[in-house]
C-alpha cells in the first residue's frame, strides 16, 4: 500500500506478533520489532524507519516508559514519526506527549487494530507530519474543554476529526458533507482558536495543539 517502514515496541509478544502480521497484510513494512525500549533503540540504529509504534506501559516500571522512549527517539532521529499504541486512553498522557513532541505524533488505543483502515490512516497521518489522536481521547478532551463552547456542534465535530488525524476528504465522507463545506468549517475552527495559517506550518496540527492547550 503505502510502503511505509515501521518499527514496533510492545512487551506483549502475542500482540506484537498479531500487529506485525496485520500491518504486513495491510502493506506496511515491519522492519523492526522489540519487546522493550532498549532493543528498539538498537534496531533503529540499524534500520531506516518512518514510524515507530510504541506501547506506553513497558518494563521495567510499567508506567510511562513508552512516552519517555518516544521523546528520546525523536531527539536522536528528528525525522522519526511516533505513534503511541496503548491499552489506556489517558487525556493527560496525550497532553504530555503533544507538549514535548509537537508534530508527527499520534496516540491510539490498541483497540483500533479492529479497524485496520483507521489504523493505517493514523500511521500515514503521523508519517505525513500530522497529529492523530484516538477518538476516546479526543472525546474526553472535548468534554473537559470549556473554551470550545464558542464553536457550533458541527464545528466541534470537525475539530474532533482533525484531532483524530483525518483529512478534509475523510471528514467530508464521515460527516456526509461536501469537501467545500468541511473547508468552511475548518476555517471557522481555526479562526475561533485564533490560528492563522502560514505556509511553513501545518494549520491542522496547530489546531490540534491549540485544542490540547486550551485544557483547564
Amino acid at each position: 500500500m503505502s510502503g511505509l517502514r515501521v518499527a514496533l515496541a510492545d512487551d506483549s509478544g502475542i500482540f506484537r506478533a498479531g500487529l506485525a502480521a496485520l500491518l504486513t497484510a495491510a502493506g506496511v513494512h515491519v522492519v523492526a520489532s522489540a519487546g522493550d525500549v532498549r532493543t528498539l533503540q538498537k534496531q533503529l540504529e540499524e534500520h531506516s524507519v518512518d514510524v515507530a509504534i510504541l506501547d506506553i506501559r513497558m518494563p521495567p516500571t510499567y508506567t510511562d516508559e513508552g512516552i519517555r522512549a518516544a521523546i528520546a527517539l525523536r531527539k536522536r532521529h528528528s525525522d522519526l514519526s511516533i505513534l503511541m499504541l496503548s491499552t489506556y486512553a489517558e487525556a493527560a498522557w496525550a497532553r504530555e506527549l503533544i507538549a514535548v513532541i509537537p508534530s508527527s505524533v499520534g496516540y491510539l488505543l490498541k483497540d483500533r487494530v479492529s479497524t485496520v483502515d483507521r489504523l493505517i490512516e493514523a500511521i500515514e497521518e503521523v508519517a505525513d507530519g500530522g497529529i492523530a489522536l484516538d477518538p476516546t481521547v479526543v472525546a474526553s478532551l472535548m468534554r473537559s474543554n470549556t473554551a470550545l463552547s464558542r464553536l457550533t456542534t458541527r464545528e466541534r465535530e470537525v475539530l474532533a476529526h482533525i484531532a483524530e488525524g483525518r483529512s478534509n476528504l475523510a471528514i467530508a465522507r464521515q460527516l456526509h458533507l461536501s469537501v467545500r463545506t468541511v473547508e468552511v468549517h475548518v476555517a471557522a475552527v481555526l479562526r475561533a482558536l485564533d490560528i492563522h495559517p502560514s505556509p511553513d506550518e501545518n494549520s491542522r496540527v496547530l489546531a490540534t495543539r491549540a485544542f490540547l492547550k486550551h485544557q483547564p
Binding site: 512487551d11 506483549s12 502475542i14 500482540f15 506478533a17 498479531g18 500487529l19 502480521a21 496485520l22 497484510a25 495491510a26 506501559r57 510499567y62 491499552t87 490498541k110 483497540d111 487494530v113 479492529s114 479497524t115 485496520v116
Partner: protein, 592 residues
C-alpha cells in the same frame, strides 16, 4: 457475737451508744451518792469507747473493737453494781465478778494490735491464763460469799479482806489476788520483750502498745500491793483509795496510748498508696517505696519475666525462703505470678499495712506493665493495619497488571487476528485466520479463569475450605491433601475465615513451590471451634518471614481475624507452617 463484720458494722455503733449511756449517764448520781473515785472509771470508759469506735472502722479490727467496747461495759458494770447498789441482793456479786473481766478483754487488744489477733505462743498462753484468772477465782469467791442483809454497811469496801468473809470465799479471793500478781508480772515480761524486739516502721506503734500494757500490769499489781499494805495496817483506807485512783489513771494513759497507735496507723494508710503510686512502676522505685512504707530496709522485689525471676536491677535471681523472711507472690490481673516480695518477718506484725502495701505494689506494677503492653500492642496494630492496607493496594496494582498483561493482550491479539480476516483474499485464508482467533480466544478465557481463581476460587464457594484446598493441590504435581476431619465439620467456618485460611495456605504452598521444596503435604482439620491448616514441605528449611514478604503478610491477615500462624523451619528442613483460626472471625485482641 459480733464476729461477723456485716453485723458489727450494723450493730457496732449502737452497741457503743448503749454502752456509753448505761456506763456514763448514771455517773453523776453515783458521784452524788458515793464518791469521786467514779470519775476516772467513767473517763476510762469514754476513752475505751472512742478507741473501739475508731477500730470498728477497720474491718480486720472489728473483733478487737468489740473487745474494747466490752471492756468498757465490764468496767461500768463493776462500778455500778459493786458500790452504789451493792445492797440490792446478789447484784453485788455480779459487779464484783464483772470488774475483773476488763483485764483479759483489754489485754487481748494490747497483745494483738496492730495485728487483728494475738500473735505468737506466749501471747496466746498469757491471754488464756488471764481469762482463767479473771473468771474462776472471783466467781468461786462470789459464789461462796453470802451477804448478810443485817450487816450491809460493813460490806462496803470490805470484800477484799481475808478476814471478814467465809473461809472459802476468802481463799478464792486470795488465789485471785495472787493471780493478779502473776498475770501482771507476766504481762510486763511479754510487753517488755515486745518493746525490745520492735523494729521497722512498726516500732513506734508496737512500743506505744507495749508501754500501755506495762502501765496496766503495774496498775493491777499496785492494787494488790495496796491491799496487802492496808491489811498489815501500813496505810489507811484513804491511802488505798489514792492508789486505786492512780491505777485507774494508768489505765486511762494505757488506753490513750493505744488510741494514739490506732490514729498513727490510720494516718499512715493513704500515704502507703500515695508513695507506691508515685513510683509509676519504675522497678527500683517500687522496691525503694516498699521498703519505706513497710519500714523494712531489707525488703526486695523480684520481677517474673516469662518465668525468669529478675531483681529490681534486672539481674537474674533465685530468692529462697529463709528463717526470719517471708516470701509473698504478687499476681497479675490474670492470676499469674508477676512479682515476688522477699520481706522481713517483722512485717507480719502489721498484716493490714503489709497487705495494703503489697496490693498497692501489685496495682502499680500491673498499671506499668499494662501501659507498656498497650503501647507495644498499639504499635503492632498500627503497623499491621498499614501492612494490610499496603497489601490491599499492592494486590490492586497486581490485579490491574494481570488484567492488562494477560487477558487484555489476549483479546487484542484476537482483535488483530480478526482484522487480518478482513484483509484475507479468499475464504480458505479467512477460515484459517478465524480458527486462529478462536484458539487465541480460548487462551484468553483460560487466562481469565486463572485470574478469577486468584481473586476468589469458585471451589472454595461450593466445596468449602476442603474443596478449595483440594482444587489448589490438584493443580500441582507432588502435592498431597489430607483431610483430618469430616468435610461437613468445615461448614461452620465464616466466609472470612475460610477465605483467609485458603489464601494463607496458598501463600505457604506457592512459597514452597517457589523454593523447589516439593513434595508438599497440606493437612486440614476442624473441631467445630478451631480450624487448622498445616503445610509441610521437604525443602531445605530456613524460611523466615521478612518485612513485606508473603509470610509476614500471612501473619497479619490471620491476626486480623483473631487467628495465628506458626512457622517452624529449621536449617535443613522440613518447613512446617501451621495456620490456625477460630471458626468465626474474632475481634479478640490478637498480636500480629
Amino acid at each position: 457475737m459480733i464476729a461477723n463484720n456485716g453485723m458489727a458494722r450494723k450493730w457496732g455503733p449502737w452497741l457503743l451508744v448503749a454502752a456509753a449511756v448505761v456506763g456514763v449517764v448514771p455517773a453523776p448520781f453515783t458521784v452524788a451518792v458515793g464518791g469521786w473515785w467514779v470519775v476516772p472509771n467513767v473517763v476510762f470508759q469514754l476513752v475505751v469507747y472512742a478507741a473501739g469506735f475508731a477500730l470498728l472502722r477497720v474491718p480486720e479490727h472489728r473483733w478487737n473493737a468489740t473487745h474494747l467496747v466490752l471492756a468498757g461495759v465490764a468496767s461500768a458494770t463493776g462500778y455500778l453494781l459493786s458500790e452504789p447498789i451493792a445492797d440490792i441482793g446478789y447484784w453485788f456479786q455480779v459487779g464484783f465478778v464483772a470488774q475483773w473481766l476488763v483485764a483479759p478483754l483489754f489485754l487481748r487488744v494490747l497483745l494483738s494490735y496492730p495485728a487483728p489477733g494475738p500473735r505468737g505462743r506466749s501471747a496466746t498462753v498469757l491471754l488464756r491464763v488471764t481469762w482463767v484468772w479473771a473468771v474462776v477465782p472471783w466467781l468461786v469467791s462470789a459464789a461462796l460469799f453470802s451477804p448478810d442483809p443485817h450487816a450491809q454497811a460493813q460490806y462496803h469496801n470490805l470484800w477484799m479482806t481475808l478476814v471478814d468473809f467465809e473461809p472459802g470465799a476468802s481463799i478464792a479471793a486470795s488465789i485471785g489476788s495472787a493471780g493478779s500478781m502473776v498475770v501482771g508480772i507476766w504481762t510486763v515480761h511479754v510487753m517488755w520483750r515486745r518493746w525490745r524486739l520492735a523494729k521497722g516502721s512498726l516500732a513506734p506503734r508496737s512500743r506505744l502498745v507495749a508501754a500501755a500494757g506495762i502501765l496496766l500490769a503495774v496498775g493491777l499489781g499496785s492494787r494488790e500491793v495496796a491491799r496487802v499494805l492496808v491489811d498489815t495496817k501500813r496505810i489507811d483506807w484513804e491511802g488505798r483509795a489514792w492508789i486505786e485512783t492512780g491505777h485507774a489513771a494508768l489505765a486511762i494513759v494505757a488506753v490513750l496510748l493505744t488510741v494514739g497507735s490506732v490514729y498513727w496507723s490510720f494516718a499512715q494508710r493513704p500515704r502507703v498508696v500515695e508513695i507506691m503510686v508515685a513510683t509509676a512502676g519504675d522497678a527500683l522505685g517500687v522496691e525503694a517505696a516498699l521498703r519505706r512504707v513497710l519500714g523494712d530496709p531489707t525488703a526486695r522485689l523480684y520481677y517474673d519475666l516469662a518465668g525468669t525471676l529478675l531483681d529490681a536491677r534486672g539481674a537474674p535471681a533465685s530468692p529462697a525462703s529463709a528463717r526470719g523472711r517471708v516470701l509473698r507472690v504478687l499476681d497479675n490481673e490474670q492470676g499469674q505470678a508477676s512479682a515476688l516480695a522477699d520481706l522481713d518477718e517483722v512485717v507480719l506484725e502489721d498484716p493490714i499495712q503489709t497487705a495494703i502495701a503489697l496490693s498497692a505494689t501489685q496495682l502499680v506494677l500491673q498499671a506499668a506493665r499494662l501501659a507498656v503492653e498497650r503501647d507495644a500492642y498499639a504499635k503492632d496494630l498500627a503497623e499491621s493495619r498499614k501492612r494490610i492496607v499496603t497489601d490491599g493496594v499492592t494486590q490492586r496494582i497486581e490485579l490491574e497488571r494481570a488484567l492488562h498483561d494477560g487477558v487484555q493482550q489476549h483479546l487484542l491479539a484476537v482483535s488483530t487476528t480478526l482484522s487480518l480476516a478482513q484483509l484475507a483474499y479468499n475464504l480458505t485464508e479467512s477460515t484459517d485466520v478465524i480458527d486462529q482467533a478462536q484458539s487465541q480466544l480460548k487462551e484468553a478465557l483460560a487466562e481469565l479463569r486463572r485470574l478469577a481463581r486468584g481473586i476468589h476460587p469458585v471451589a472454595l464457594g461450593h466445596g468449602g475450605l476442603p474443596g478449595g484446598l483440594r482444587a489448589m493441590v490438584d493443580r500441582w504435581d507432588d502435592c498431597e491433601f489430607v483431610l483430618e476431619s469430616t468435610e461437613p465439620s468445615f461448614a461452620c467456618l465464616d466466609e472470612t475465615v475460610r477465605t483467609t485460611c485458603y489464601f494463607a495456605a496458598a501463600e505457604a504452598l506457592s512459597n514452597a513451590i517457589k523454593y523447589g521444596s516439593r513434595p508438599v503435604k497440606i493437612t486440614a482439620a476442624c473441631d467445630g471451634h478451631q480450624v487448622t491448616v498445616t503445610v509441610v514441605d521437604e525443602g531445605a528449611g530456613g524460611a523466615r518471614p521478612v518485612p513485606g514478604g508473603g509470610l509476614a503478610g500471612l501473619r497479619d491477615r490471620l491476626a486480623a481475624v483473631g487467628g495465628g500462624v506458626t512457622i517452624t523451619s529449621p536449617e535443613g528442613g522440613p518447613t512446617m507452617i501451621v495456620i490456625r483460626s477460630s471458626v468465626h472471625a474474632s475481634t479478640a485482641l490478637g498480636v500480629p
